[in-house]
């Protein structure tokens, strides 16, 4: 019996006239959806995935029911009653009864009590889903019922209390009271009048039970949680069970955690979806990240495929190993974990016993449950330091103190107008596109005969020959720098002007300066547009005319517009030169990088394994077009490679003399061929498609995530035998969900990249700061493993932070020829392209050098200034010595509080343990010095000189404060973001 109401709407039911696995199938008259009688689940139609709520009910003869409830009204339908009568007769026969069991449903989990076990015992005291229950067989009514055996928070234990031939009564051991098992009412004793709460319990054929409840427990069987020893129960948690998902769908845990997570999603979904290679198959699946009830739909698809047989074998198991002409061939071997999971699924859904291990019972809390978020004040400091290379202003601090995170968007709007933000933006995107690695020499003499214009530039005004030589060096340096950074300036221009970031692939312009414009030969035409024609770094957007060769042929680049067909970064010489091609590579490298950088697709990862690569080469004339192993990758990569066909190795126009290769898939994108008439603007054609591809938005959000968080987004876990697979998958999916949500909103915001920064800064991933309590559960710990920004600052970031805090740069971490840059995990964008994220001993040594040297350069300098001008020590002088009096101690502690706030961003009280620790350090140094004879009464020669004179330091306080600053600069809170 069910409540015929779903999501607040009442439905009328009738039966379809057919049965499914022995259970009749109902349909609702409003939508035509079909429902399984036994489970009350809708399996087909618009309401698929929904469930009806069971109502407590008993299967009992009318005579006995009437005796119990004489006032009962009867719903009668002549024909139906006849059918029921037959059932009743059949039920009454002992032989049939023994095939039945009582299916008790608690919290949407099911447990079966076979009558064969229940009838002899009469009552079974059990605990299921943490609910103490009594399953009772009542001989006088030929039926079974289930009650929650708890009254007024007191759990009772029942036993039969009737003599043979008498109606069954129950007695609770706790009070000795007697109970009527059919009504659940206490009839005698201390608890007289008390009523037990009924549980949903219906009779079901034992043999059919597994078909509908593959994950259910059966009393007395192996998977019965009650039959396990207490230690196992405690260690392994509760038995596996289905539970209700977010949409009210009863989730099959085995299917969700094993079949779908480990096989379906990773293997089948690649092809079996509406746009996939197997889109014409009847076995179509959905990505469960997107569809509301897609998991249940996928389960139905798997169950149907599992039930279909070929020569007595499940088609699911045959297809997966490559039989029955499976288009994807053998995606799993029979000896793999994945195959074994499917085999278990087939057993479970066919009602056969499943003796595999139970699914670990872990009810995950909301993902960020128990995570402490960073205070708005600290987020503000992180944002301004990270994105604007400065400390928060007073106004900003006051705003977040007053209104919290609500103010953050407005502050970010301001930050994203500052030049420093664009430096960070350019640096961050260079980590991704690595265009700095192209070098500045990106122009070809064939098309740009003025590329070395500084060589002939008139510098007579600079002075004598030597002065002119120096001026020319500088001219060259500035020109090269201006040229080198054009790709990054394109990105900055798009973002600064709130242009759609799709222009990364579609911009019909490039950015030039007065210096680079000269090299392109367009300076004179642009001269009036520059505010300062002598500024090497004033970038403006412009179009290049179609290229014309300066050499003998005088050939012109084909162009319907007369202009170079710009396609954002894609068609820039820097980008093309950074990812060169060869006669044998055929632009495949460019295609691969395009997919990775613009669409977030790693082609090499998608299809990196072939059973026998060289055999494919030998077997096929053109393996990349004929061998399935090769085609899977090349059909995606080669068409895009063909779009780059007119760009030769170094990035300039240079079509092959023999035309593009015929033994490759022709130029195009995904399933679309490029029309011949578009060839002259092939990269524009690609850019237009890129802008429309939903993967573009996702990839760009991933790039911003990398810039903000310092590491790439999580990859889906690969090892399905890993005990933490489910946790890692959840962590991946949680993060992926955020990325996709932000990507969707980014697209709606007209691809304004600033929106992505704001969305991600506001996300839990950026703000997560700590744990409210220790995560004891290993699975929970694994889920949270990647949570928390915790990023080792890059050399560039660290240098900027030092400048912001000390007012002067250190200068040893970045810059031309600076050896610390690579040693400290930086990149050169060419041969070293991955930043180091964990410090080696070499980096630890640099941190020590940095802390010593920065303290050396700044502490004495700071004390030499007027207090109001000091950054580090505005409230203390060197004559304040510990031990003098309590006022001195207070001043020192106050100075430490300021240092902690300024250098580490920690707002602490004067008695905070960290302040106390720093105070002790200061005191110990001063006291140690006091006890040591022969120490100078002036500061050190190397560090404590101002205007060539060593500062007085009679109490050693100057050097002690230098020690304190050194100590603070070595800390995690300083060196990490």
């Amino acid at each position: 019996m069910y409540r015929r109401e779903v999501d607040g709407k009442v439905y009328d039911f009738d039966h379809t006239g057919y049965v499914y696995k022995g259970s009749f199938v109902m349909f609702d008259k409003q939508t035509g959806s079909e429902w399984i009688h036994v489970t009350a689940e809708c399996v087909m139609g618009p309401l698929r995935g929904k469930s009806l709520d069971f109502l407590p009910a008993q299967v009992i003869t009318w005579q006995k029911w009437k005796a119990l409830h004489p006032d009962t009204t009867v719903f009668s339908s002549r024909n139906r009653w006849k059918a029921k009568s037959r059932d009743r007769k059949a039920f009454s026969r002992t032989s049939s009864r023994k095939k039945l069991g009582l299916n008790v449903v608690v919290d949407y989990a099911s447990k079966l009590y076979p009558y064969s076990k229940l009838e002899p015992q009469r009552v079974i005291n059990d605990v299921f889903q943490k609910t103490p229950l009594a399953a009772v067989f009542v001989p006088q009514a030929d039926c079974a019922v289930a009650w929650i055996r708890k009254v007024d928070d007191r759990t009772l234990t029942f036993e039969p209390a009737s003599r043979d031939g008498q109606p069954l009564r129950l007695k609770d051991k706790e009070t000795g009271s007697l109970w009527d098992p059919l009504r659940g009412k206490c009839v005698k004793g201390a608890l007289r009048g008390k009523q037990l709460e009924p549980l949903v319990a219906i009779a079901i054929y034992v043999g059919r039970y597994r078909a509908f409840y593959p994950d259910g427990e059966v009393f007395g069987e192996k998977n019965d949680s009650a039959s396990k020893p207490p230690s196992a129960k405690n260690a392994g948690g509760r038995p596996e069970a289905n539970h209700r998902g977010p949409q009210g769908v009863v989730v099959d845990r085995f299917f969700a955690d094993e079949v779908w997570a480990k096989v379906g999603e990773r293997t089948c979904l690649k092809c079996h979806h509406a746009q996939g290679d197997a889109s014409d198959s009847e076995f179509l699946l959905q990505d469960t990240l997107r569809g509301r009830d897609s998991l249940d739909k996928n389960r139905v698809a798997f169950a149907q495929m599992a039930a279909e047989k070929e020569d007595g074998k499940s088609r699911l198991l045959l297809k997966i190993i490559g039989e029955l002409d499976h288009g994807g061939q053998d995606v799993l071997k029979a000896d793999t974990t994945g195959y074994r999971i499917l085999a278990r699924f087939v057993r479970r859904t066919s009602g056969k016993p499943d003796d595999g291990p139970a699914i670990a019972d872990y009810h995950a809390p909301p993902f960020f449950d128990g995570i402490e978020m960073m205070t708005p004040r600290r987020i503000l400091r992180r944002v301004t330091l990270s994105l604007a290379a400065r400390l928060p202003t007073k106004g900003e601090r006051a705003a977040v103190e007053r209104d919290g995170l609500k103010e953050m968007d407005a502050i970010l709007d301001q930050v994203m107008r500052e030049d420093a933000f664009y430096e960070r933006l350019k640096e961050g995107f260079n980590d991704i596109f690595l265009t700095i690695g192209s070098g500045s020499d990106v122009l070809s003499y064939e098309y740009f005969k003025e590329k070395n214009w500084p060589q002939k530039y008139d510098l007579t005004d600079a002075g004598d020959e030597d002065a002119q030589k120096k001026a020319r060096y500088k001219l060259f340096d500035d020109y090269r720098a201006a040229m080198l950074h054009e790709p990054q300036e394109l990105i900055a221009y798009i973002v600064r002007n709130d242009r759609p970031f799709t222009e990364l692939a579609t911009a019909d312009y490039i950015m030039v300066t007065p210096y680079s414009a000269r090299a392109y030969g367009i300076y004179e035409a642009l001269r009036e547009r520059f505010k300062d024609p002598d500024d090497p770094f004033e970038y403006i957007p412009t179009k290049l005319p179609a290229l014309k060769s300066n050499w003998g042929s005088k050939k012109m680049q084909e162009s319907d517009t007369g202009f170079y067909p710009h396609a954002g970064l894609l068609s820039m010489f820097h980008y093309l030169k950074r990812y060169p091609t060869t006669e044998t590579n055929r632009n495949r490298h460019r295609a691969r990088m395009y997919y990775q950088q613009f669409l977030g697709v790693n082609i090499m990862k998608l299809a990196s394994r072939v059973p026998d690569a060289v055999a494919a080469e030998a077997k096929y004339e053109i393996p990349t077009m004929q061998s399935a192993d090769c085609v899977v990758c090349h059909k995606t990569m080669d068409p895009v490679a063909g779009l780059f066909q007119d760009f030769e190795a170094s990035g300039h126009i240079g079509p092959r003399k023999d035309g593009w290769y015929k033994d490759m898939f022709g130029p195009g994108f995904e399933d679309e061929d490029m029309p011949d008439k578009e060839r002259w603007r092939a990269l524009q054609w690609l850019g237009e498609r890129t802008a429309k591809d939903p993967r573009f938005a996702v990839a760009m959000v991933q790039h911003v995530y990398y810039i903000l968080i310092g590491r790439k987004v999580l990859l889906p876990p690969e090892d399905i035998d890993d005990p933490m697979f489910a946790s890692k998958r959840r962590a991946y999916r949680q993060q992926r969900k955020l990325i996709e949500e932000v990507a969707g909103r980014f697209a709606s915001a007209k691809f304004n990249l600033k929106f992505v920064f704001k969305a991600l800064v506001g996300s839990e991933y950026y703000r997560a700061d700590g744990l409210a309590a220790l995560a004891e559960q290993p699975r929970r710990r694994a889920e949270l493993d990647d949570v928390g920004l915790v990023r080792l600052l890059t050399p560039e970031q660290l240098e900027r932070k030092l400048t912001a805090l000390f007012g002067q740069k250190w200068g040893r971490l970045v810059g031309r020829g600076n050896k610390f840059e690579i040693l400290y995990g930086g990149i050169d964008s060419k041969s070293v392209t991955e930043r180091m994220t964990d410090p080696s001993g070499a980096m630890g040594a640099i941190q020590r050098i940095l802390s010593n040297d920065v303290a050396c350069k700044n502490v004495a300098l700071d004390f030499s200034r007027e207090p109001s001008q000091r950054r580090l020590f505005p409230h203390i002088e060197l004559d304040v010595v510990p031990g003098d009096d309590s006022a001195a101690e207070a001043k020192i502690r106050q100075a430490i509080v300021h240092l902690h706030q300024h250098l580490l961003g920690q707002k602490q009280a004067t008695d905070h343990p960290e302040v106390e620790r720093t105070y002790r350090l200061f005191v110990r140094i001063v006291n140690h010095a006091k006890s040591k004879e022969g120490l100078d009464k002036v500061g050190s020669y190397s560090c404590d000189r101002i205007d060539g004179k060593r500062l007085d330091d009679p109490h050693y306080t100057l050097r002690a404060w230098r020690g304190v600053v050194t100590y603070l600069l070595r800390q995690h809170d300083f060196l990490y973001e």
Binding site: I371, T582, E583, T584, S608, R609, V610, D612, A613, V614, A615, A618, L715, E718, A768, G770, L774, P778, R781, A782, D785, G788, V790, K819, G825, S831, V832, E834, M836, D838, P839, S840, G841, A842, M843, G844, A845, I846, Q847, R848, I849, N852, D853, C856, R917, L921, I925, H928, K932, L935, S940, S942, R959, A960, G963, T966, Y967, R970, Q971, Y976
Partner: protein, 430 residues
């Protein structure tokens, strides 16, 4: 401080991430002053011929079917069990095959017919470095062995390029210039000059002591795993960096011109000083799509000379018997020449080993006259075309883990290599 506290600090319990905190921390400030204890070997060196070497011009000579223009089948030389392509007459610099096999043939184990599965650089490098083709998170063998054997030493895993993923087990270290070690080794002195310290000694001691007190206090705090891990790694990096001063005596006065030899000097000084466990050495440009023979005749001798340099210098430093050397490339090259006289990518290749625990003068596996793989019986390691298996990098890596004695280490288990019992190459090392 108790080590168990640090294990907790490092988040090692439960998740099994690296605990790069050595005994020096455990024993307190005094021990910390001298840095981490010296690692005494074995030392693991991976030589990478980046770009894809032509094995038929080195350890798997053919000379048939127009596969090699510089020699014919009858020209093939033998040295002990080895067959080698002659090249002494074609090289201008470096070490010839003839000399290399003459010097090291008796120690050298060659495996031909390695199924590298992928004919692409990136996955090929990844596969050869980690033994796992389809994962971007597996550590290289060099990183894994460094994490298992000596994550507390400051340059546990040195890399000079090529695929260098660490699996989050151990920090990688890049030291491109030898002289930078001099500055790093004296981090507490102005300009690296030991006579000009930034602080008086007792100040440095107090700073270190306070840092130790701080990290000890944080053991009891509840933090995110990432925070725990990074605080531990930072503390270890700074503390262990002090051991870099031990490198100074072993820094050569002059630096060689050859790129592999320069890398070798840094590696050997670090090994000898006990601050390094493994190193990833690499030279590129082997990707000879055009003018294969000229390129390979230039690069193979340079590569072999680099190996020779490292081994000879290790003899001088008296650590040769502690070296385990792996010599590899991410792929081979096609049996035929293309229109540009080059050779393209080929997914069947070779690998060579020598050093501690490896019996030399042996060749395992083979390719046929079409440079196709011939299967091998994993038990006997002899050719078995019918029932043999295709030896792939995971077979090699499992054997390497066995050789290093780290196959049962928790870090290795975290990155399992699924090779069935029957397919394991248990007698590979002889």
């Amino acid at each position: 401080m108790q080590r168990r506290d640090f294990l907790r600090l490092c988040g090692a319990a439960g998740l099994g991430f690296a605990a790069p905190v050595g005994p020096s921390i455990v024993s307190g400030a005094e021990a910390a002053k001298s840095g981490s204890p010296a690692y005494g070997g074995p030392y693991y060196v991976i030589f990478n011929a980046a770009g894809g070497w032509d094995t038929t011009y080195l350890m798997d000579p053919k000379g048939v079917n127009k596969m090699n223009r510089l020699y014919k089948e009858g020209d093939i030389l033998t040295r002990g069990a080895h067959r080698l392509a002659p090249n002494a007459a074609h090289i201008k610099a470096g070490l010839s095959n003839e000399d290399f096999f003459k010097n090291y043939g008796a120690e050298l184990l060659v495996l031909n017919g390695l199924d590298q599965q992928s004919a692409n650089h990136e996955p090929g490098k990844r596969y050869m470095a980690t033994g796992k083709l389809d994962s971007l998170v597996y550590p290289t063998f060099a990183a894994l062995v460094a994490a298992c054997k000596g994550s507390e030493v400051p340059l546990a895993f040195l890399t000079f390029g090529n695929y260098s993923a660490t699996g989050n087990l151990v920090p990688m270290a890049r030291v491109p210039y030898l002289n930078s070690l001099t500055i790093l080794a004296n981090a507490d002195a102005v300009g690296g000059n030991a006579r000009s310290p930034y602080h008086d000694d007792f100040v440095i001691d107090e700073i270190e002591r306070t840092l130790q007190e701080q990290i000890k206090a944080r053991v009891s705090q509840v933090r995110l795993s990432r925070v725990e891990r990074s605080q531990s790694m930072l503390f270890a990096a700074q503390l262990n960096s002090k051991a870099l001063e031990r490198v100074i005596p072993y820094i050569p006065k002059t630096s060689p011109k050859e790129r592999l030899s320069r890398q070798a000097d840094i590696v050997l000084a670090s090994f000898k000083a006990g601050v390094c466990v493994s190193a990833n050495l690499s030279i590129g440009q082997f990707d000879s799509h055009a003018n294969n023979d000229a390129d390979q005749m230039r690069l193979i001798p340079e590569f072999l000379a680099g190996i020779d340099y490292l081994v000879k210098k290790s003899e001088e430093l008296k650590i040769r018997d502690k070296l385990v050397i792996v010599i590899q490339s991410e792929m081979g090259r096609t049996p035929t020449y293309n229109k540009n006289n080059g050779k393209d990518h080929w997914a069947i290749g070779s690998i060579m080993f020598m050093g501690r625990g490896i019996r030399g003068n042996r060749v395992i596996g083979a390719t046929d006259d079409k440079q196709l793989l011939v299967p091998v019986d994993p038990k006997t390691l002899s050719i078995d075309k019918e029932k043999g298996i295709r030896i792939r990098p995971e077979h090699i890596h499992l054997a390497l883990r066995n050789l290093a004695g780290i196959d049962q280490h928790e870090f290795s288990k975290k990155f399992p290599l699924k090779v069935s019992e029957q397919e394991q190459l248990k007698s590979l090392w002889g």
